[in-house]
């Protein structure tokens, strides 16, 4: 017994226990050697990753680099392993079958000072590589966004500067023109304010804590529709100008109520704006089953858009048609951010001249709420 107790009082670790420890690690721990003819071969390879790939010591003992990593992979690996055998420790990442692995080969020197063999470990870093890729994408998006924001804010500023300068220099401009200039200045300033409000909304949609509750989307859609009607009473004029709303009853979502409201305000607000010149305008809010999932659908019979640019609609400031329709170009980017916060998705579709369709879902939770045992009706 005494021989198995180290000075510290802790038990010695047996060879079998050590092997067991290594086999429990999620990675690969390896040892390899180099023959005078340059052949690099393995003498040890253990760990859960080695087991997963069927390359434990028992399976690969004595096998060469080329046998272990067939195809082009061995060429890249050889370079790094050669360096390790020269005494240089080099970390590197390689890709195999869409997964990424980080290698840490370390030279071990014998008593003569020469590299006797190389040990190291291999860890899977697929999640890190993917996170980095997403981060790069997001950064590029952010940069494009900043560029667009700057341009969109510069335009109204340019107009304000033109008009200020015109009023300053044009003392002889008649009263009507001066009045028109002032009116335009007010309108442009309001639009800048709307743009900034939109940007704050977009930012809020990304920042606020998500609190899912049972949301009565039908009731919410009716409220949004009422608000639109009240803000723009002129639309009620004339028998074929009034919007016919069709809101399916009892649409429920497991969602953040505040964000769901912003989402509906944007989608219904767009449908409202874009049916402005449509005879007998109709806006519909319904649910559809698609790909085994319940999607909420906002459909209008406005002018629609070219379906080829559907994805661009969700990029902030990529306004597709700004000739006649006022808008900040941020609404659909906000919608996208809201559905993404819910782990959901949004799609746009259209037939030019016949209308637009926006479909969204708010994550995997609907099914659970649809089958709630208490059978509670929405408020």
């Amino acid at each position: 017994m005494a021989s198995q107790q180290a000075a510290s009082g802790l038990p010695d670790i047996s060879k079998a226990e050590m092997l067991e420890m290594i086999r429990t690690l999620p990675d690969v721990v390896f040892r390899c050697h180099k023959e005078p003819d340059g052949r690099i071969y393995w003498s040890f390879n253990e760990g859960r990753l080695a087991e997963e790939f069927g390359v434990t010591t028992q399976e690969i003992r004595g096998k060469s680099l080329e046998e272990l990593f067939p195809g082009g992979a061995s060429e890249q690996l050889r370079e790094h392993f050669e360096a390790a055998f020269r005494g240089e420790a080099q970390e590197f990442i390689n890709e195999m079958g869409g997964r990424f692995f980080k290698h840490f080969p370390q030279p071990v020197r014998g008593t003569d000072g020469r590299v006797a063999y190389v040990v190291g470990f291999i860890s899977e870093v697929t999640h890190l590589v993917e996170a980095e890729r997403r981060l790069k994408e997001k950064n590029a998006e952010l940069e494009a966004f900043t560029y667009s924001v700057s341009h969109d804010l510069r335009n109204p500023l340019a107009v304000l500067m033109n008009l200020t300068e015109a009023l300053r220099a044009g003392k002889d401009l008649d009263a009507g023109k001066r009045e028109k200039a002032l009116g335009r200045m007010t309108a442009v300033t309001q639009r800048m304010e709307e743009t900034i409000e939109g940007l704050l909304g977009l930012s809020r949609a990304g920042r606020t804590e998500l609190e899912r509750t049972e949301v009565d989307l039908s009731g919410m859609a009716r409220q949004v529709a009422d608000d639109l009607e009240q803000q723009d009473p002129d639309r009620r004029q004339g028998p074929d100008r009034q919007v016919r709303w069709r809101i399916e009853p009892r649409l429920e979502a497991w969602a953040d109520a505040g964000l769901a409201r912003v989402l509906l305000e944007n989608l219904l607000g767009n449908a409202w704006k874009y049916t402005r010149d449509t005879g007998s305008p109709e806006i519909e809010v319904v649910a559809e089953e698609r790909d085994g999932r319940r999607w909420f659908v906002v459909r209008d019979n406005g002018p629609g858009f070219d379906p080829g640019i559907a994805d661009r609609l969700f990029v902030a400031f990529e306004r597709v048609d700004n000739r006649d329709i006022q808008g900040s170009g941020i609404g659909l980017a906000t919608v996208k951010r809201i559905v993404e916060r819910h782990d959901g998705a949004v799609q746009a579709d259209a037939v030019p001249g016949e209308g637009s369709v926006f479909r969204f879902h708010l994550g995997a939770h609907h099914a659970a709420t649809a089958n709630r045992p208490d059978g509670m009706e929405p408020a």
Binding site: N155, P156, A166, A169, A181, R184, A187
Partner: protein, 114 residues
């Protein structure tokens, strides 16, 4: 007094530029779509065309500039732009000048040669 044709699809930019030009004592006219530029130029025979570079339907800026020059020999064509890459566009389209939005009236007067 210079007769200027402003081609810009943005209502605010177009109208405010017209007013600015008028305030500076010029005769200013406007056209709001790319397809109408040559015809408007032919009718008005402006001294200067102030041409926005991002109008809908404007796919071939050098072509448009050539057509305007054919219709109105001697017209000065000035690009009106908020974009940074304007110099390259100006070189391609062989125009007489570039004015950045917002419109600096001194720069515009210089470009118009007035």
């Amino acid at each position: 007094m210079t007769r200027v044709l402003v081609a810009d699809d943005d209502d605010d930019v177009r109208e405010s530029t017209l007013l600015l030009l008028e305030a500076y004592g010029h005769e200013a006219h406007a056209v709001d779509d790319a397809a109408g530029v040559v015809e408007a130029a032919r009718g008005l025979r402006p001294d200067v065309l102030l041409q926005d570079v991002t109008m809908p339907g404007l796919d071939d800026l050098p072509g448009l500039v050539r057509a305007v020059r054919e219709a109105v020999p001697g017209v000065r064509v000035i690009l009106f732009t908020g974009r940074e890459e304007a110099e390259e566009l100006a070189a391609q389209a062989r125009v007489d000048g570039v004015v950045r939005k917002p419109c600096d009236m001194d720069a515009l007067e210089r470009a118009m040669g007035s």
